[in-house]
């Protein structure tokens, strides 16, 4: 894929953010006027552990080019242990997606606390850049959702 084509390309990014840490982190990024690309669409979830692997697959099916999951730092979960389970699940899922040949840069888990507005913004900037460089998600995705 040529660089020219990439300049045109704006990825669709879905970010699942836990209500207690990462969503507040996104809020802080906003109120601190730290920019991150508008390509990131945030979906608020009660806990990172609420994210069923199907959510991630569904996002890809419906045309996402990258999916990122943000939650409280391990040990800081509002519900004590939710993110520990999420961590294992996502490790398994990402490994499987990598195994079937989906570029591993399209998935990410990042722990972002409510105080880390800067980290949220930096993470999103980095992730969007990474997915942009990978280009359109052609290996996963449902043709029917395209125009």
């Amino acid at each position: 894929m040529s660089i020219g084509a990439n300049e045109e390309f704006r990825p669709k990014i879905v970010a699942f953010c836990c209500n207690w840490c990462s969503y507040a982190g996104a809020d802080l990024a906003g109120s601190s006027r730290l920019a991150y690309p508008a390509d990131v669409k945030i979906i608020r979830v009660p806990c990172s552990c609420r994210v069923n692997p199907m959510f991630i697959l569904r996002a890809f099916e419906r045309g996402a080019d990258g999916v990122i999951l943000c939650g409280c730092h391990p040990g800081d979960c509002h519900y004590s242990t939710g993110n520990f389970y999420a961590r294992r699940r996502m490790t398994m899922l990402f490994s499987m997606l990598d195994y079937i040949g989906v570029e591993n840069g399209r998935t990410r888990v990042e722990w972002v606390s409510a105080a880390e507005g800067a980290k949220f913004s930096a993470t999103m900037n980095d992730f969007v850049a990474k997915v942009t460089s990978l280009g359109k998600n052609v290996r996963l995705g449902d043709l029917r959702c395209k125009n």
Binding site: R144, C145, K146, N147
Partner: protein, 345 residues
């Protein structure tokens, strides 16, 4: 009658595919199924039975019927185009062709299924005799001749590295004319010998003498109420393997998929083995696996013949015999009733 050497077949396929779509048995990942021909595929006409039957060519497992798109307050309905070009399906066996005839009775009677009818009208069937019938075959039971697939447009025989070719219908003559420069004249002696040999093997097949006595359109009461079903179905896992490999199973489901700005209405094969088969707002009329299991075989051997002048909706291809995960199949059902004296009733 004409013939062509086996090594020249790819030239033949290329020629046919030049102006028509060509479907034939193709090996992919160790399994042979019907697929569209192109120069890259691995053609496999030596395997007797494809995993799925040739049913897909006329009644695909999945097809879009129409799309609905919303633009503002308007709905735009786009029907999927019907098949409007001739296509050739090469290598169908006598049982597969009989399977298509079973489908014809369903889809071509009123109300006619236009999608199916269009494919049927444009399909040219090049049949192949069964060089080496296998133990799971029992087409003879349904009056079919594995040695002479006469219901096709063209019949072929593979003998000693040469494919013998005989046009049987106008469509077949036209196809023959279009590939004539690749064919050479042949006499029928070798084919007759091959036919005799095939028929001799068919006689020896373990299922060839299966008796259908007691089955047919009038058997509903006796068979339906028989206690035999209660032991027969127990091993059934309720998967859809038998239905999906079967050349005559014709049930389908119609569903909507929500697309970005409308819906895609599609149909796909359904299986009477599945729990949501014929599910209605008021629930399901067959709630146990026993009922579902019985339905499948009653449909093939009783209900279908009752509505189609005694024609059975089984063609003896033996795919269920080979593929059922629990080794259950229609032959075991027929035999179980034989043993229970059910056939005498």
């Amino acid at each position: 009658m004409y013939k062509i050497a086996k090594e020249n077949l790819s030239a033949l396929f290329q020629k046919i595919a030049g102006d028509k779509e060509l479907y034939l048995p193709v090996k992919n990942g160790g399994q042979t199924n019907y697929a569209a021909w192109d120069e890259t595929v691995e053609v496999d006409i030596d395997t007797l039975k494809t995993v799925k039957s040739a049913k897909d060519a006329f009644f695909p497992q999945f097809e879009t019927l129409y799309n609905v798109k919303r633009e503002g307050k308007k709905l735009d309905l786009q029907q999927e185009a019907l098949k409007d070009k001739d296509f050739v399906i090469f290598g169908m066996k006598a049982c597969d062709i009989q399977g298509v005839k079973v489908l014809d009775n369903v889809f071509l009677s009123e109300p006619v299924d236009t999608y199916y009818a269009a494919r049927r009208a444009h399909g040219i069937i090049v049949a192949m005799a069964c060089h080496e019938p296998e133990e799971s075959c029992f087409c003879k039971v349904f009056g079919l001749d594995a040695a002479d697939p006469s219901a096709a447009d063209v019949a072929t025989w593979m003998v000693d590295g040469e494919l013998y070719w005989k046009a049987l219908t106008e469509k077949g003559e036209a196809l023959t004319a279009s590939v004539k420069d690749l064919l050479t004249d042949a006499d029928e002696a070798k084919v007759e010998a091959e036919k005799a040999q095939i028929r001799a093997i068919v006689e020896k097949l373990p299922y060839s003498n299966l008796s259908l006595e007691g089955w047919g359109g009038d058997a509903t009461d006796v068979k339906f109420k028989s206690p035999v079903w209660e032991t027969l179905y127990k091993g059934c896992l309720a998967c859809g393997t038998c239905t999906f490999v079967c050349p005559t199973c014709q049930c389908y489901d119609i569903k909507d998929y929500t697309t970005k700005d409308g819906i895609q209405r599609y149909r796909c094969w359904d299986s009477c083995m599945y729990s949501d088969f014929t599910l209605m707002a008021g629930g399901n009329n067959r709630t146990s696996q026993l009922q579902r299991y019985r339905q499948r075989f009653m449909h093939k051997l009783v209900y279908y013949p009752a509505n189609n002048n005694g024609m059975y909706a089984c063609v003896g291809c033996g795919r269920c015999v080979e593929k059922c995960p629990s080794s259950l199949n229609i032959v075991k059902v027929i035999k179980a009733f034989e043993n229970e004296g059910g056939s005498k009733a």
